[in-house]
Symmetry: C2
Subunit: 249 residues, 2 copies
DNA sequence: CCTTATTGTAACACAATGATACAATAATAA
DNA sequence: TTATTATTGTATCATTGTGTTACAATAAGG
């Protein structure tokens, strides 16, 4: 697990992995009223990238995505969903990976499996920012949260992947009730509204929002939260429902 | 193009194709108030299958799906959308393809690329039943429409693929306005309602349906249609909008 | 011209949402 | 203690959307 990439690197033919197929995961978190994504930065390189990985030849694709997610966040039972396959030929560009391997002191032969064309299956995950433990993989310097409106320069088409993941999240937010996965277990109505406003990138009417959320019958009102502010204390709520982890099928 | 499979068959290593990656296309049509899908039946076999194919190593994945769609329907400019990647390990079963090749008098070596594990990218398409020209591929006896509620026994997990495509279509029907792609250029409000009822599998109220559709501002009222029935003649409508062909990105 | 079936739409009830208003209430200061 | 302040919870009303019923407007056919 620790020297995973080293094994992949020295495994020139890619034995044990599905060839040409990768997973990229957009892991969303919410903090300081900002939507964040988890990004890796590679050693000896200025490149940032989405957490990703490859699929073992005896492993379900969804399971591989979950493995990637769990190894970068140290969390299990997380909302995770496929959203798009990125398969344009124009994505094919072995130079970044070649550079990474070169920086590691490894010169790959041109027919190395990692330098061939890859099709990437995009997943997005929604995690509790306070619970996730960002964990670099073995070729990364760092694994950290970056605000969506202040992203560093990303490898390949990872920026478009994030953009598309965000669109999917926006589309799904009202239908599937998945926003709660981004909050802590207990939250105020203000927290929830702020989350919705951030994701949808628009202001919502407080009274209507609260009425609608309460009418859904999925919130349990707990206790009051004394914030220290000079005003009425908000209630805390908890999300009540089948703890959907998705994978959809 | 005509001997496409023969080339794939004799090409033991799968040179020129992305390995382990396939496309399956659920092509929907609407006729006789029934939702239909296009299925192939294989020569010397009782197996039915979705139209599918492989991706050339210099071809966009979406383009490959479009190529498959166009070669089975003889249509261009069709609504086509990715909906799910089927990547469970349990899908892996080389026997059907082995049987097909065997029936063709070809005995494949065990390491033949077509007998390895495949991950399949599911697409669905919406076509005008009256315009499509079902066209078998070179290993098929037939390419024909089958009603969704009377499907033959299908290869591998193709039945689940259809089921999932239908769910996606149901979910998208109201949001994206794509149902029109299943009708002829001109249609009555009754045709449209019947289509919606069939896809959603529930009765809709005529007055409310008509009011809503007209309020969307996407229908142009043409002329009246004299059906020969002893009653008021319905108007014909045409769908007005950006002719969305999707691929989404 | 009367019957029949179907279409287009009006009319009303009810539900959902937008918008405004206001009472309730924690802290702080007077 | 009491007034002040900001924020929360919810009532209220207007507007819009949808469910439901009803009915006038026809195309045939007798």
């Amino acid at each position: 697990m620790n020297k995973e990439f080293e094994q992949q690197e020295s495994n020139i033919s890619g034995e044990g992995f599905l060839p040409g197929l990768a997973i990229d995961t957009v892991i969303f978190g919410f903090h300081d009223n900002q939507l964040k994504v988890l990004l890796l930065s590679y050693k000896n390189s200025s490149l940032y990238a989405l957490p990703g990985g490859f699929i073992h030849d005896n492993e379900d694709v969804n399971q591989a995505a979950r493995r990637v997610l769990e190894s970068r966040t140290a969390l299990t039972n997380i909302y995770l969903e496929q959203f798009y396959v990125f398969g344009d030929y124009s994505r094919y560009d072995p130079t970044p990976l070649k550079a990474i391997m070169h920086a590691r002191g490894y010169t790959a032969p041109d027919n190395h499996w990692l330098l061939k064309r890859f099709v990437s299956i995009g997943y997005y995950a929604l995690v509790d920012f306070t619970k996730a433990v960002p964990t670099p993989d073995d070729i990364s310097d760092s694994c950290d949260w970056y605000s969506l409106d202040d992203l560093p320069v990303l490898m390949q088409d990872h920026r478009q992947i994030i953009e598309k993941a965000l669109q999917t999240l926006q589309n799904n937010l009202d239908q599937k009730l998945i926003g709660f996965n981004l909050l802590t277990d207990e939250f105020t109505m203000g927290d929830l509204q702020s989350l919705y406003e951030t994701i949808l990138n628009k202001k919502l009417l407080r009274a209507a929002f609260q009425r609608k959320m309460l009418s859904l019958g999925i919130l349990e009102r707990i206790a009051k939260k004394w914030t220290g502010g000079a005003h009425k204390a908000p209630y805390l709520y908890r999300f009540i429902s089948n703890n959907v982890t998705a994978d959809t099928f």
